[in-house]
């Protein structure tokens, strides 16, 4: 029997989600590169459905947390409660203890809840009272957020955005895709493909991704891209951090593996660079004044660096 490849998860997601190719690819990239993914877009663009489809495809545990302004850190990571029969405190683990966690509308919760989640994302463990609990492996957080101009949202600080490996902006589907959505979902229940791969397969892909060869020329290209974000544009207040350099490398390796290769090509790096760098660059207020699209700016920065 042939072991499933990341492509099988891609196909499973594409079966459920009409269009939104960038989102589907980003979810699988995050899965293989062992990173978390942030999806930004207006409501109704299948962000949540894509995350549910990924969890179903993996046959792992899935929890969803709807972030609201009154959510508490304990609602996410868990808490200790007093057991009267045992006359002792017992720990109730929160919904973060799952293989795939969907943090829906993460920017609707206040900063302390966001930071509780993001700390768990970084450390891969949670401390509740005196005990530290490791999170399951694989563990991936898929967060969705509405654009910041929507009412009742809290901006995620740059340091917290940096914890996400990739950030994908969603756009409205094309006319043909809209019609396909109508035909697929107007008459039947949303079909989720289950068991396209196992959790062990995911761990194996991650090991394979770490072994993907990266030529020195590609490494220089990665560094050039990150340095280009720090090149002193009047629109950029602060460029990407060294964590972005590592993220670019890990994601390029995952991209190569998904493409069926065990070596990275410049195309792998260039295609994922806007997703990795876009949310890690701090822009100045001049962007708002001159009405410059930050994503277009990042795309220009990436395009300005010659590939090897």
């Amino acid at each position: 029997m042939i072991a499933p490849s990341p492509r099988s998860v891609l196909d499973a997601l594409a079966h459920t989600i009409v269009g939104q190719r960038a989102v589907v690819e980003a979810l699988v990239l995050g899965l293989v590169a062992d990173g978390h993914v942030l999806l930004e877009g207006p409501p109704g663009l299948a962000k949540t459905l894509a995350c549910r489809a990924l969890a179903a495809a993996l046959d792992g545990s899935f929890k969803r947390v709807q972030f609201t302004p009154d959510l508490l850190p304990a609602d996410v990571i868990g808490t200790r409660v007093f057991d009267q029969r045992e006359t002792a405190f017992t720990t109730v683990l929160g919904p973060i203890f799952a293989n795939v966690v969907l943090a829906d509308e993460i920017n609707r919760a206040p900063a302390k809840v966001q930071s509780a989640l993001l700390e768990a994302m970084q450390e891969r463990q949670v401390t509740i009272g005196p005990q530290t609990h490791p999170l399951p492996d694989p563990f991936i957080v898929l967060a969705t957020m509405n654009p910041l101009d929507a009412d009742g949202t809290y901006a995620l600080p740059l340091a917290q955005l940096d914890r996400f490996l990739l950030k994908v902006g969603l756009d409205f589907p094309s006319r043909d895709e809209e019609r396909a959505i109508l035909e697929r979902f107007a008459t039947e229940e949303t079909a989720l493909i289950r068991g396209a791969a196992t959790l062990q397969d995911v761990l194996a892909w991650r090991r394979q991704a770490r072994a993907v060869h990266v030529d020195d020329k590609i490494k220089r290209y990665v560094v050039d891209l990150v340095f280009a974000t720090r090149a002193g544009s009047p629109y950029v207040e602060r460029g990407a951090s060294p964590r972005a350099t590592l993220a670019l490398m890990f994601t390029a390796r995952a991209k190569a593996l998904i493409g069926g290769r065990d070596f990275v090509l410049p195309d792998d790096v260039r295609s994922i660079a806007p997703l990795v760098l876009g949310h890690r660059v701090a822009f100045t207020h001049k962007v708002l004044i001159d009405r410059v699209d930050p994503q277009a700016l990042v795309a220009d920065i990436v395009a300005s660096v010659a590939a090897p």
């Binding site: 060869h213 030529d215 070596f263 090509l265 410049p266 195309d267 260039r270 295609s271 590939a307």
Partner: protein
């Protein structure tokens, strides 16, 4: 609530301090809703806050260290604070006085002194020297006023033949057959890129896009040389073999 400056006439380029003082009758740990005064022109060098608790309540001070870079009147707007007024329990905005300072002087620089020094040098040294040189040149030109022979222009040499991209490509492939090294692979890759009309900074994706109407074998050749360019050293020779076996069909040499 007041706004004061340590000097009514700050000097150009010399730091001065503007202090916001707020007295509150209750003991409060912080005053979060204080809005700094608006000003345009001076550079902000520092911002220090202090809170003193006493029998009279809390005294909050925030001192801005500024440095003016332009002479003339400098207006510093009022500081503001949003708080509940203990007298009637209603939220209010408290506003301080504003300040109008007059930025003066700064260290005066004698900008004309280097100019005067230069003119003195010209007058006393360079002018006599220039006069002597002019006389010598005049004498020399009078002596040399004889009919000149126009130099014969050599016929323009034909331009060096620039090898066509395909020639460069075939030469690069021959070198790859001989050397079988990574450098030779990169040379072939550059030649294929040039032949496709791509610049060196473009990727395989760009080249395949440019070759979208070209034969499939040509796109495959580009993909094979890309593989050889970025694969690990252990498999380089097999990647070169794959490219060379496909080269006669895939690459127009």
């Amino acid at each position: 609530m007041s706004l004061t400056s340590d000097t009514p006439s700050p000097r150009l380029g010399v730091p001065f301090r503007v202090t916001i003082s707020i007295g509150v009758k209750e003991n409060v740990p912080t005053l979060p809703n204080v809005y700094l005064p608006a000003f345009f022109g001076p550079e902000e060098l520092g911002d220090e806050r202090s809170t003193v608790h006493g029998a009279q309540g809390t005294l909050y001070r925030e001192t801005l260290t500024l440095e003016a870079h332009a002479r003339g009147p400098l207006r510093i707007g009022a500081a503001k604070m949003d708080a509940i007024d203990a007298r009637d329990g209603k939220p209010k905005r408290f506003i301080s006085n504003d300040l109008v300072l007059n930025v003066e002087g700064g260290p005066l620089l004698d900008v004309w002194s280097p100019v005067r020094a230069f003119l003195g040098l010209v007058a006393y040294t360079l002018l006599p020297l220039a006069a002597i040189v002019a006389i010598v040149v005049l004498l020399f030109r009078r002596k040399a006023r004889s009919p000149r022979v126009q130099p014969v222009q050599p016929p323009p040499s034909p331009p060096a033949p620039v090898p066509a991209p395909v020639d460069t490509l075939s030469q690069a492939i021959e070198r790859l057959r001989d050397r079988r090294s990574r450098a030779a692979v990169l040379e072939v890759r550059s030649a294929i890129w040039r032949a496709a009309g791509a610049s060196p900074g473009e990727t395989l994706g760009d080249v395949e896009h440019r070759l979208r109407s070209a034969p499939q074998a040509q796109r495959e050749a580009a993909a094979r040389i890309e593989r050889a360019a970025f694969i690990d050293d252990e498999r380089l020779q097999s990647a070169i073999d794959e490219f060379l076996h496909a080269a006669p069909g895939g690459v127009r040499t």
